[in-house]
């Protein structure tokens, strides 16, 4: 379950400002309903194959440009001249390293296509080893770096790459992965038990604003899941702020020594201290009431956090059961339904001419009354992929039972995995349709078709057939006193027969479909 917000772009938590104070850095952002965190791997738009990189910085410039700094992964193809005897695995990448061009780039967030899962298989001690499951789910793996200066592949990782600690390039440890529902649970619990304590006094200054923002975050609309991530952060931060308040209290009392253990105090103790603070004069009383309101908010957050934890564990249990009771979902509008400005799809004619067949899938057994936009929603919802769809129009030979649509994915991998899903599982619609996906084989567009039924008169006969020739070049009704009339009647006869046999076929097929659909047990199918 991934939160699908309606906003196209939203910044997440702030990280800090840059050297010149104009640039605001962030920990995360949400693009088209998907939340991207620092050190996530993404596909970046490129032809013919998207680039893959790791987000190491995300920031907004004073002019409002939203940018990301990316450290690149090279595909073996890109560095094939330097591979030497090294035989890369089919899904292996190489992490850029060293100094110079080609290690990093600054890109607009608009260039991001989607997330990409890249797992590090290096035996380096600093690298948390991936589980089998993770390896299986990974889009790509890497175990080597590629030095852009020396043009060499190496199994050794330097301490820093592009100024970022090498640990950030290795696999994330469990608690670094807040998006995973199981770890969120832990995350929340941990943040309740042992809050991080910011020992920096300047945390005090931003305390107020932080709290405001926290409350906003809690209020903000989103899926439970999304909120729970935020709440986890809120919890961590509220502890920080409380610790800060304590420090403030000590400072006011003339005690300049910071007690790093304050953060571990229980609520009651905090309350107790708050009472104590109230005794020490007007200024402090004011502080204390602030503190109390903070505490209230904190308790609120905590209650919410607990509730969400419960819900999450409930959900997790449900997910275990999901194998036997499939869940019905209503297809939601995809977040970018109305504005797709940031990714320019080519018109269909060009997609087809570009012969990107490996990215095209033909979906069959759709409801013929679906529109292209509804198919896009459906694929977004069921397969979690952004695509462009084109319903194939009903025409002379199409079955009224079967709607078909061409679907273009952005990357071949996404098309492959969608095909695989559709093959291994069954995507059912409420009317008992089971969607079939197959690789689209397109008609050669340049082919000029021959046409049976239009007789060409050769030169020898021109003389006598002058009238007929004229008739050919214009549109006309056939006259009864003409040979053409009789020939036309034969064609109409064939057309009538054709009508009948298609009708018969479709009737028969409908009967067969209904026969099978009747066997469906679940009440979901109407």
């Amino acid at each position: 379950m991934i939160c699908r917000g309606r906003d196209t772009f939203k910044w997440g938590l702030k990280k800090g400002v840059g050297v010149n104070k104009d640039v605001q850095f962030y920990h995360s952002f949400t693009l088209e309903g998907v939340e991207y965190f620092l050190y996530d791997c993404v596909y970046l738009l490129n032809q013919p194959e998207n680039y893959i990189g790791k987000l190491v910085k995300m920031y907004e410039t004073p002019t409002g440009e939203k940018k990301v700094k990316v450290v690149w992964y090279f595909r073996p193809m890109e560095i094939r001249e330097f591979l030497g005897a090294y035989e890369p695995r089919w899904n292996e990448l190489f992490l850029a390293s060293g100094e110079g061009d080609g290690v990093t780039n600054i890109n607009l967030v608009d260039a991001i296509v989607q997330k990409c899962s890249v797992i590090c298989t290096s035996n380096d001690k600093r690298n948390p080893q991936p589980s089998e499951e993770e390896l299986r789910m990974a889009d790509y793996i890497f175990s080597c770096t590629f030095d852009v200066e020396k043009m060499t592949i190496s199994k050794n990782f330097t301490d820093q790459i592009a100024g970022i600690r090498v640990e950030c390039y290795f696999n994330k440890t469990k608690d670094q992965r807040p998006r995973h529902s199981q770890t969120i649970k832990q995350h929340i619990k941990e943040s309740i038990r042992k809050p991080e304590l910011s020992s920096k006094v300047d945390g005090l200054a931003v305390k107020g604003s932080k709290f405001n923002r926290n409350i906003q975050v809690v209020k903000c609309e989103g899926s439970k899941f999304y909120r729970s991530i935020q709440v986890a952060k809120v919890l961590a931060e509220s502890k920080k702020a409380i610790a800060g308040t304590h420090q403030q209290g000590f400072i006011s009392n003339g005690n300049t020594r910071l007690n790093p253990k304050t953060g571990n105090d229980t609520n009651a103790q905090v309350d107790h201290k708050a009472k104590k603070l109230r005794l020490s004069g007007d200024y402090l009383a004011q502080n204390a009431s602030n503190l109390q309101s903070h505490l209230k908010k904190k308790v609120l957050c905590r209650n919410k956090g607990d509730k969400i934890t419960e819900e999450l564990s409930h959900q997790l249990e449900q997910q275990k059961d999901v194998r036997t009771v499939s869940k019905t979902t209503e297809v939601q509008r995809r977040p970018d339904a109305d504005k797709r400005r940031w990714f320019k799809w080519l018109p269909w004619e060009e997609i087809i001419q570009a012969n990107k067949e490996e990215r095209l899938i033909l979906l069959e057994n759709l409801d013929p009354s679906f529109t292209s936009s509804e198919v896009e929603d459906l694929v977004w919802h069921a397969l979690n992929a952004k695509i462009k769809a084109r319903m194939i129009e009903q025409s002379t030979f199409s079955s009224p039972q079967y709607g078909k649509a061409l679907v273009a994915f952005r990357v071949k991998d996404a098309a492959d995995s969608a095909l695989n899903e559709l093959r291994c599982r069954c995507l059912m619609l409420a009317d008992g349709r089971c969607i079939v996906g197959k690789r689209a084989s397109l008609r050669n567009p340049g082919k000029t078709a021959t046409f049976n039924g239009h007789l060409v008169l050769n030169n020898k006969h021109r003389r006598i057939s002058e009238d007929m020739r004229k008739a050919v070049s214009t549109s006309h009704f056939s006259q009864a006193n003409n040979l053409e009339f009789e020939l036309a009647i034969e064609w109409r006869l064939l057309q009538e027969k054709s009508n009948m046999w298609w009708k018969e076929l479709h009737k028969q097929q409908l009967n067969e479909i209904n026969e099978v659909r009747r066997q469906l047990q679940s009440s979901f199918f109407t």
Binding site: H381, M428, L455, V472, T474, L483, E490, W501
Partner: protein
């Protein structure tokens, strides 16, 4: 938003009503040919050929013609189907029928419609049925493909037959023509004492 979407959808349905679907068109037929051909029935507002992306065989073209009114569209369909109407060639006539919403590639989504879907995994009781349905879809597509192949073969056969008939007819024509041209006919007429006039 709801009301504008509904209005858009209603407008689209109106457009469908005044549109005629024409098939059995030669690949040579262009938009301008169709407009000229159909202008004798009324005002053609737009022409849209339905592209063939996925059928690898040569199938006749088909097109949507939007007329000015539903009345005109009905008239077109009636006339074309009552007589044999030829466009850009003979003797295979074109066919016409009322257009359906599903024939348009760019059409608005029906307002308020909800789509529900569900994934079935291998231990769902309905999984096997789902697989059967998938199989059926493929089987039916194959059946349709075979039928189409047979139909195209029948068409080709008819085409050849007619070519023969036409050739034979031309031969007769030419024979008669030559007989007239080299005065054999006039000679014979004089011999049998019957009246004969050239032309």
């Amino acid at each position: 938003m709801g009301s504008t979407a509904e209005a858009e959808y209603r407008e689209f349905l109106e457009k469908v009503k005044r549109t005629v679907y024409i098939d059995n068109l030669s690949p040579r037929v262009t938009e301008s040919v169709l407009i000229t051909a159909l202008s004798q029935f009324g005002v053609v507002k737009s022409v849209k050929f339905i592209p063939n992306y996925i059928e690898s065989r040569d199938i006749p073209q088909c097109a949507l013609l939007e007329m000015e009114s539903q009345k005109q569209a009905k008239g077109v369909i009636l006339d074309i189907n009552r007589f044999s109407f030829m466009v850009s060639g003979m003797p295979r006539p074109v066919r016409a029928r009322p257009a359906q919403a599903e024939m348009f590639d760019e059409r608005p989504t029906k307002p308020g419609r909800k789509i529900h879907c569900r994934w079935l995994d291998s231990n769902d009781p309905d999984f096997e049925i789902g697989k059967k349905l998938k199989h059926l879809t493929q089987k039916h597509a194959a059946e349709a493909s075979v039928l189409l192949k047979q139909q195209l073969e029948r068409e080709e056969k008819l085409h050849r037959q007619q070519e023969e008939i036409l050739k034979a007819n031309y031969k007769k024509f030419e024979l008669l023509n030559d007989v007239v041209k080299d005065k054999t006919a006039t000679g014979l007429a004089r011999y049998y004492n019957v009246k004969f006039r050239d032309g």
